[in-house]
């Protein structure tokens, strides 16, 4: 007979080494970055208002200096200032789109997970098939048909990113259904809705919140890619994608700083969210490998 008592523990430890385990310092740094990013982009209009359409044609493409920490762009606009607002817009798009995707995915996954059986099989097949549609192509299609705008970009991201959420919610619900406390609740005469709301939801919500958080970098990326292709937000708005797109030309004329700040903001915020989410997932479920799903 095997040393069964020892085995799960061994496997568990073997797996635990695979997770991204940011050190305490990493987590604190990431947390600080995110707090600064979120608070900064929330307070920016009060503290450091930006006229989105302002230009200063007499100080175009000046290198970083004390007056312009990240330099100015082709139209003499302060890159650092616009990067703050770019982050603000990108986070807004990211958060709203992620929320849309979460609601969609939550509903589909919830139906599949609570009803199970045939409904589940069909829904999951549908999800699989839609998952085979390239995100970016579908997103481009949606934006092209709705015309590029804030709403279209949000719709484009939301409508293409709900699949993983649906899968997560569904599998979580299916695994919960087999837990004793759910049986107990059902045997205790609780209605389906009551079981769902009182017993299942509290377990699913944290995971859903995690999925939403992890989706924000995705959404920011999607927005950036669409803007890069010229299909995103109106080009004069300060969004990170627009800024990188604008900065491309400056790069060739030697003004490397115009795309540096927005690019750095994307990378830093993406990594910060990833690090925190990894730790969060670690807490939530020590058995699951916390890959960075960027």
């Amino acid at each position: 007979m095997a040393d069964l008592a020892a085995r799960p523990a061994l496997l568990r430890t073997a797996r635990s080494r695979l997770r991204l385990r940011p050190g305490q310092a990493g987590v604190v740094t990431a947390g600080l970055v995110l707090v600064v990013a979120v608070v900064g982009s929330l307070l920016a209009p009060l503290v450091w208002p930006l006229d989105q359409s302002a230009v200063a044609l007499d100080q175009t493409r000046s290198a970083p200096s004390w007056a312009h920490l990240a330099g100015t762009d082709d139209l003499g606009r302060d890159v650092a200032h616009r990067a703050v607002y770019g982050l603000r817009v990108s986070l807004l798009v990211g958060a709203v789109a992620a929320l849309v995707a979460t609601v969609l995915g939550g509903v589909v996954g919830g139906i599949a997970g609570t009803l199970g059986g045939r409904v589940d099989r069909i829904l999951m097949r549908v999800v699989d098939t839609i998952a085979a549609m390239p995100h970016l192509l579908l997103g481009i299609f949606i934006v092209a048909m709705l015309r590029p705008s804030l709403g279209a970009v949000i719709a484009s991201v939301g409508l293409t990113h709900w699949l993983s959420t649906a899968r997560i919610v569904r599998s979580e619900l299916l695994s919960l259904r087999t837990r004793p406390f759910v049986d107990a609740a059902i045997n205790g005469g609780a209605g389906r809705r009551r079981v769902l709301v009182r017993h299942l939801l509290p377990h699913v919500l944290p995971r859903l919140a995690l999925a939403t958080t992890l989706m924000i970098p995705h959404a920011v990326w999607h927005e950036t890619a669409l803007s890069f292709l010229g299909l995103g937000l109106p080009p004069h708005l300060a969004s990170l994608g627009n800024m990188i797109n604008d900065g491309q030309g400056s790069l060739l004329t030697g003004a490397w700083w115009a795309s540096l700040a927005p690019g750095a903001v994307i990378v830093v915020v993406t990594l910060a969210i990833a690090v925190l989410a990894a730790r969060w997932r670690d807490r939530l479920d020590p058995r699951v490998r916390a890959e960075l799903h960027l």
């Binding site: 006229d51 359409s53 302002a54 230009v55 200063a56 044609l57 007499d58 175009t60 082709d74 139209l75 003499g76 015309r147 590029p148 010229g230 109106p234 080009p235 004069h236 708005l237 604008d246 491309q248 030309g249 790069l251 060739l252 004329t253 030697g254």
Partner: protein, 532 residues
């Protein structure tokens, strides 16, 4: 060699053919700087034609490389005979135009050009079933006939002074297109013309390869082959120019400026009739006030736009007739820099008083409007923002809106729009429709519904009169009235900027039109270019 898709088939075919037909240098991959063999010139542009068919809008202003019109233009944009032996003659009543064809002109496939081909070409444009957008430019044509193999007669519904300027349209061979749906014919991808170059291959999205027409009526081109590379992205085009791939490329002014220092390149800033301006619709309650429009015209800093946005490659614009044109009226030219004080005084006098937040208002109506620009156009975006900033200084609040054309479309009656157009060939072109009241509210013609009897009369005179002096007077009146009414806020004329390798010889820029690309760019006479 026939044009084939870049597939395995093509590889096999070209490999097989290489041994017999082509010298080793052609089939072997050339070195990255492969253009140094001196016989192939490579030019790069962003605008790839949808179809290489003059009937479907390709190269209608001539210099189409593959096609010739009855007439063409020289380095000063003067008309010279093309496929016509001499410049066509206009009858005394101005309603009959007769063209005699040049002898012995052959299409690339070896067949002879006849008057039938000319008739077919123009009839195709006029055929409602053909999706040709040129039709409205030729709506004065009543009939096109060929009394004999070498004569073409146009009958016009009414006299039209600049009609000969319309005859630059390339002629297509009727036998390859008659009986077919011109909209979808294979010809559009693999055209046959009479021009200095024949199409060797066209890889959409990549390149158009042209080979010299040995039997070109005006003499064999000085080079063997022209490759037009289609690179939509400005930055990529600049990178590839920098990497030495092209002999000539059109680049935005700021990217082109990066080549100024380098002696292996030459930057050409070509004067144009290509203007940018803000269409100010009469249907907007704020913009309906001429005082506001005039104040805006005073408030915009055109020279700052030229230097800050165009990198110096342009001139301030004050009207739709370019400074290079003989029809320009110098009296309409204003100050290139902003005069905010005068603008403010104008607004004050008209009752627009400074209100809360620095925005003026009159009778409770704040001085604000939306300025639309096409989202894909960086230059128009930049200009829209510059206008916004200048307007703010005199208390007018402008909201820029980057939109696609179809979103702009329904709003043009009430929202301002950053537009661009212009042709150097005749003042009637474009302006007749853009400012004539009969075209008010019709699509992109006069979308702001500008109405002025003076302008209408002047435009009509300009078109009806044959006498150049009378025409000039008519257009002077037109320009003055426009300057007074300010239906458009003219901002700048562009200079089209091209980067060329210094080794290229024979480049003679001429004033360019708004529309330029494969055809009618700085390489309009590329058949005479050589390399030193």
């Amino acid at each position: 060699m026939t044009r084939m898709r870049p597939t395995f088939r093509r590889l096999v075919a070209s490999t097989a053919a290489a041994g017999m037909l082509v010298l080793a240098g052609c089939s072997a991959p050339t070195n990255p700087d492969g253009s140094s063999d001196g016989t192939t010139l490579v030019v790069a542009t962003s605008d790839e034609p949808d179809a290489l068919n003059p009937v479907l809008n390709y190269g209608v202003d001539g210099a189409a490389l593959i096609f010739d019109g009855l007439v063409s233009r020289d380095g000063d944009n003067r008309l010279v005979p093309g496929l016509a032996a001499t410049l066509p003659t206009v009858s005394a009543d101005g309603r009959t135009v007769t063209a005699k064809l040049r002898d012995g002109v052959l299409f690339h496939d070896g067949t002879a050009l006849t008057a039938q081909d000319v008739v077919f070409t123009y009839q195709a444009v006029l055929d409602p079933k053909v999706d040709s957008t040129l039709r409205s430019d030729l709506d004065m044509v009543e009939s096109v006939t060929a009394p004999d193999q070498a004569t073409v007669v146009f009958r016009l519904r009414h006299p039209y002074a600049p009609f000969l300027q319309r005859l630059t349209l390339g002629i297509v061979p009727s036998k390859l297109l008659s009986g077919q749906d011109v909209n979808t014919a294979g010809f559009n991808r693999k055209p046959v013309g009479t021009g200095p170059y024949a199409v060797e291959s066209w890889t959409p999205g990549d390149r158009l390869v042209l080979t010299a027409n040995e039997r070109y009526f005006a003499g064999r081109p000085a080079n063997n082959r022209v490759v037009v590379a289609f690179v939509a992205d400005d930055n990529v085009r600049a990178q590839r120019m920098r990497a030495g791939e092209f002999d000539a490329a059109e680049l935005p002014p700021k990217l082109a400026a990066a080549f100024d220092e380098d002696t292996t390149y030459r930057v050409q800033r070509v004067p144009t009739a290509d203007y940018r301006g803000v269409m100010l619709p009469a249907g907007n309650p704020v913009l309906a006030d001429p005082a506001v429009r005039r104040a805006l015209s005073l408030a915009v800093d055109r020279s700052a736009m030229v230097s800050g946005i165009l990198g110096g490659a342009g001139e301030p614009a004050f009207g739709p007739i370019p400074p290079t044109s003989e029809f320009v009226d110098p009296s309409v030219v204003g100050a290139p820099t902003a005069d905010a004080t005068a603008a403010a005084a104008l607004l004050d006098a008209a009752g627009w008083k400074p209100g809360p937040g620095g925005v003026r208002a009159r009778d409770g109506r704040p001085a604000r409007f939306t300025l639309m620009y096409p989202a894909g156009d960086t230059l128009r975006k930049d200009l829209a923002l510059a206008v916004t900033a200048d307007a703010k200084k005199i208390g007018i609040e402008v909201t820029p809106a980057g939109l696609t054309w179809d979103a702009i479309d329904p709003r043009m009656k009430s929202d301002a729009l950053l537009m661009g157009y212009g042709t150097p060939y005749d003042p009637d072109f474009v302006s007749y429709k853009l400012f004539g009241s009969t075209f008010a509210g019709q699509g992109y013609f006069n979308p702001g519904s500008y109405r002025s009897e003076v302008v209408d009369r002047a435009l009509q005179n300009g078109r009806d009169q044959i006498d150049p002096a009378l025409r000039k007077a008519a257009y002077a009146q037109f320009q003055q009235q426009l300057a007074a009414d300010v239906p458009w806020l003219f901002l700048t004329y562009l200079r089209h900027t091209y980067v060329l390798k210094s080794s290229v010889r024979g480049v003679t820029p001429r004033v360019e039109a708004h529309e330029h690309g494969v055809a009618n760019s700085i390489w309009w006479n590329i058949d005479t270019w050589t390399r030193s």
